[in-house]
């Protein structure tokens, strides 16, 4: 199973996600990327991230995305 940094790198290979604490403010993920990421996470981890959770706060950085995945039952 692909790890989260690998998934992010596939979506936006030009950015160093580990170096950012706010992907949205840093312009590394836009709203379209976010929906692409949700679809990839749903498929990769066999989950369904709720629409109410698709908000920028949950996609700010690696930690907040991992927290969201745990909330959806993913064991990281």
């Amino acid at each position: 199973m692909k790890a989260l940094p690998e998934i992010l790198k596939e979506i936006r290979p030009e950015f160093d996600f580990a170096a950012s604490s706010d992907f949205i403010a840093d312009g590394m993920l836009d709203s379209f990327d976010m929906v692409t990421l949700v679809a990839t996470l749903d498929k990769t981890y066999g989950i369904s991230i709720q629409g109410t959770d698709i908000v920028p706060e949950n996609f700010k950085n690696l930690q907040t995305i991992e927290a969201l995945l745990r909330q959806c039952g993913v064991q990281l």
Binding site: E14, A25, G27, M28, S31, F32, S48, G51, T52, I54
Partner: protein, 274 residues
């Protein structure tokens, strides 16, 4: 359709459509700031149907339609029941890879829409751009608030309202305040502009245009070069362009932009033909 009054309503409605669906489909990718502005200006309507939610955003004399559905089959069934599709001018943007959009295009076409325009996204890496000696008579300035109406007039005269997501005057004024509209003027008249949005490491050119009366003065080149030189912290430049506008695509290629694989099919209903 009922007016949407809060951002929370939007997310709640999306959740209603998404639920536990594994085949969720949507064309709604709103940035929160834009969503709030649409709501504040009373431009957004919403309708929740069985496992699908639709939003209409008013734009001049037509509506942009956004959908969120638990599956393509649900979308196919529910979109035909939307009254607005039969009575109003409606345009829909479908964004994705060309190969991935076929099924949605078929659903929309079966519901009475036709292919209106295709845009492709171009991107260039944020490598430095060499400064160039200024072009005679082409000083580049950030637009000021008195330029708003002239900018709107030039955009409306130069672009397609159904396909190009033209800004409203309030959006132009916000961009001017954020110093994101570059202009060249000739004897006080707006001759060229570049309207952009920079968010962190990514910058999007929304509109780059030269007034036809001022073509061949290199004003377009001046404003683009100024943009690329001054946005030196940007790592990723992107823009959308009409796929069949070969002249524009060639110009963007000249500045290092190349297709990144994303397509936006603009689909319009028959009411847009009248």
């Amino acid at each position: 359709m009922a007016p949407v009054s809060t951002v929370a309503e939007v997310f709640d409605a999306i959740q209603g459509a998404k639920g536990g669906a594994s085949a969720f489909c949507t064309n709604f990718f709103p940035a929160q700031g834009k969503l709030q502005a649409w709501i504040d200006h009373g431009e957004l309507l919403g309708e929740r149907r069985h496992q699908a939610t639709f939003f209409l955003r008013q734009d001049r004399d037509f509506w942009h339609l956004y959908f969120c559905a638990s599956s393509v089959a649900v979308l196919r069934q529910e979109i035909t029941a939307l009254a607005a599709v039969k009575t109003e001018r409606v345009a829909v943007d479908l964004v994705g890879t060309e190969a991935g959009l076929g099924e949605l295009l078929a659903v929309l076409e079966a519901a009475g829409f036709r292919r209106y325009a295709r845009l492709v996204r171009l991107a260039r890496p944020g490598q430095g751009f060499p400064p160039q000696a200024s072009v005679d008579g082409a000083e580049v300035y950030c637009a000021d608030e008195s330029d708003g109406q002239a900018i709107l007039n030039l955009l409306e005269a130069s672009f397609d309202r159904y396909a190009d997501q033209l800004p409203t005057l309030y959006e132009i004024e916000a961009a001017i305040a954020a110093r994101q509209v570059l202009t060249v003027k000739s004897e006080g008249t707006l001759a060229a502009l570049l309207f952009f949005e920079t968010q962190g490491l990514t910058s999007t050119v929304r509109y780059w245009v030269v007034d036809p009366r001022f073509r061949s003065h290199r004003f377009g080149s001046a404003v683009m070069r100024h943009y690329l030189v001054t946005q030196n912290a940007v790592r990723r430049f992107i823009l959308w362009v009409m796929a069949d506008n070969e002249n524009a695509v060639l110009k963007y290629r000249h500045y290092g932009y190349v297709p990144d694989g994303l397509t936006d099919w603009v689909i319009a209903n028959k009411m847009t033909r009248v």
